[in-house]
């Protein structure tokens, strides 16, 4: 289950999307997220879904792999959809029993929200799956660098994000091991009682925190040994340059907006 989460994972493949400049991809994702919540209407979503499918195809990430990443959020999607389904007031009642009333508007709203969340996760997944975390944070560092002028410590922030990403798999493995070790000592993580269930987390969380602090400590010393100084300037191993692909991506964004506007006007 824990291993199914694909957000933050990198999937290596020789695709044009992988080779694109991270800044382009970050801006594209941002743009995609905004569009997702601004647009209305069935045909607009068809265009977005089609465009997402095109990008997935270009990125050479197996669809199965993408879908597996959605597993952990199924519950979230179901809850959101259910809330919208029952809470939305409307005139076209399709079903009514006791306090439960389902309206056509509710069905529409529920579907819209479910699609939005799924597309949102897929969209951000494409960014992280095609961009190594270091490149991603490197791209962010450049995009956010204007903030350095007003004293925001962007480099330190980017280093922190990079390290967090680096340690996610390590800590997930560790969590898995601790859960198994405590299960073997008879800990019960499947109790129905929510209070007991939360209490059962303590034997997992404490060792995990202790371990994370120990690792942080070790890492800090190791970084110091390699001459890291948060206040000093650093050179960069990576160099980013906009290329043809980035230009195409920009063109595509423009076309994308035009199509959506046309749909809005025509339909």
């Amino acid at each position: 289950m824990i291993r199914d989460i694909t957000i933050g994972q990198y999937y290596d493949a020789p695709s044009p999307i992988h080779k694109m400049d991270p800044r382009t991809k970050i801006l594209w994702t941002l743009f995609y997220m905004i569009t997702l919540f601004v647009v209305e209407g069935f045909w607009s979503y068809v265009v977005i879904v089609a465009s997402t499918a095109l990008i997935i195809a270009l990125s050479k990430i197996p669809v199965k792999f993408m879908l597996r990443g959605l597993k952990p959020i199924i519950l979230l999607v179901v809850i959101t959809a259910a809330l919208n389904l029952f809470m939305t007031q409307g005139e076209n009642v399709i079903f009514s029993k006791g306090i439960f009333t389902i309206t056509l508007e509710g069905v529409y709203m529920a579907a819209k929200m479910a699609v939005r969340i799924i597309l949102l996760i897929i969209g951000t997944s494409i960014l992280t799956l095609t961009t190594t975390p270091t490149v991603l944070t490197g791209g962010l560092e450049i995009l956010l660098s204007p903030l350095k002028k007003i004293g925001v410590p962007i480099s330190v922030f980017v280093m922190m994000v990079g390290i967090a990403l680096r340690f996610i798999p390590t800590l997930l493995d560790e969590t898995d091991k601790i859960i198994k070790a405590q299960t073997s000592r008879g800990a019960d993580f499947e109790n129905k009682n929510p209070v007991k269930r939360i209490k059962a987390m303590i034997p997992i969380l404490i060792p995990l925190f202790v371990s994370a602090f120990r690792r942080a400590d070790d890492l800090a010393v190791a970084m110091e040994c390699r001459c890291y100084n948060a206040d000093a300037d650093r050179s960069s191993y990576r160099r980013f340059a906009f290329g043809k692909r980035d230009f195409y991506a920009l063109m595509y964004a423009v076309i994308f907006v035009i199509i959506l506007v046309v749909i809005k006007v025509v339909l």
Binding site: T132, T134, A222, M223, E224, C225, R226, C227, S235, Y237
Partner: protein
């Protein structure tokens, strides 16, 4: 020439009740190009000494100089750390980046090395530890031995005079241990990099030119591995052991079988025993 010079080095810290002396008047010089192993049981002060060689800890008394730089000289701290690289026990906790080659570049980025030079050095360092073909991998998908070699490459790229390794093989399997040991030996022999390795594997210490035995923060023995492992009783009383081959040779000698030279490896041990077998044909 000495790369490391510890003079009357003392390190102590105060816990709530008493003062604990971890390093007690150490005088150790390490010569350029040598391979020194430091052994001692847990709590003998060996890791504390290692941390002094990189100015992670500063002496409470006496001094330690690395490449003629006093560890207390704050102005030259980065120069010192660049000359004496450090590799730690836990391979996971010293890899910073999410891609092998970027991790190797980390130290160089800190030193503000210019772009082309940096790429050249990363490539060389990865080739030297035999990890070049893994340069695009994520570190968590590597084996322990491979991770440790990446850590060594990260230090190597900074072109140090000396590499200090604090129990680099303690968390590895036999294959990983072999890979790391071979890498260390080749850096020492081929690139003439001074190696100081802390270990509690006696067979690894046996591969060094010199073995220093620490106990309670003091140097107890400091000699060639042959001479150090001759003193089996003394080592055992310090909670250490000797390689099984050495132990066997020692016992055979006690049982009246003449073995003249010091034994460190199974091959040597067998060779000496076979000499006696030869007698029967005379």
């Amino acid at each position: 020439m000495n790369i490391i010079e510890a003079k009357n080095l003392i390190f102590s810290y105060k816990s709530n009740t008493h003062e604990k002396v971890v390093l007690d008047n150490l005088n150790i010089n390490i010569e350029k190009g040598s391979f020194t192993a430091i052994i001692g049981h847990n709590g003998s002060g060996k890791s504390t000494f290692a941390k002094h060689m990189n100015a992670i800890l500063l002496p409470s008394g006496g001094s330690i100089c690395v490449c003629k730089i006093d560890s207390k000289d704050e102005e030259r701290l980065y120069e010192l750390r660049k000359s004496a690289g450090m590799v730690f026990q836990n391979p996971d906790n010293q890899i910073v980046a999410t891609i092998v080659e970027e991790d190797v570049a980390f130290g160089l980025e800190n030193l503000c090395i210019e772009h082309e030079e940096m790429h050249k050095r990363v490539e060389e360092a990865l080739k030297a530890v035999n990890m070049y073909k893994y340069r695009k991998r994520a570190p968590h998908l590597l084996s322990g031995g491979q991770k440790q070699r990446v850590a060594i490459a990260g230090v190597l790229a900074m072109q140090p005079e000396c590499i200090i390794l604090d129990e680099p093989t303690a968390m590895l399997d036999p294959k990983g241990r072999r890979e790391v040991m071979d890498t260390i030996l080749s850096l020492n022999k081929e690139k003439n990099i001074t190696i100081v390795m802390i270990t509690h594997y006696m067979d690894e210490a046996a591969k060094a030119d010199r073995v220093i035995v620490l106990d309670k923060g003091k140097v107890i023995l400091d000699d060639t591995p042959q001479n150090v492992f001759e003193k089996e009783e003394e080592l055992l009383s310090l909670g250490l052991s000797v390689p099984h081959s050495t132990e066997l040779a020692h016992r055979l000698r006690k049982s009246g079988i003449k073995i003249d030279r010091a034994i460190l490896t199974p091959e040597d041990c067998a060779k000496e025993i076979l000499k006696h077998k030869g007698n029967s044909y005379d």
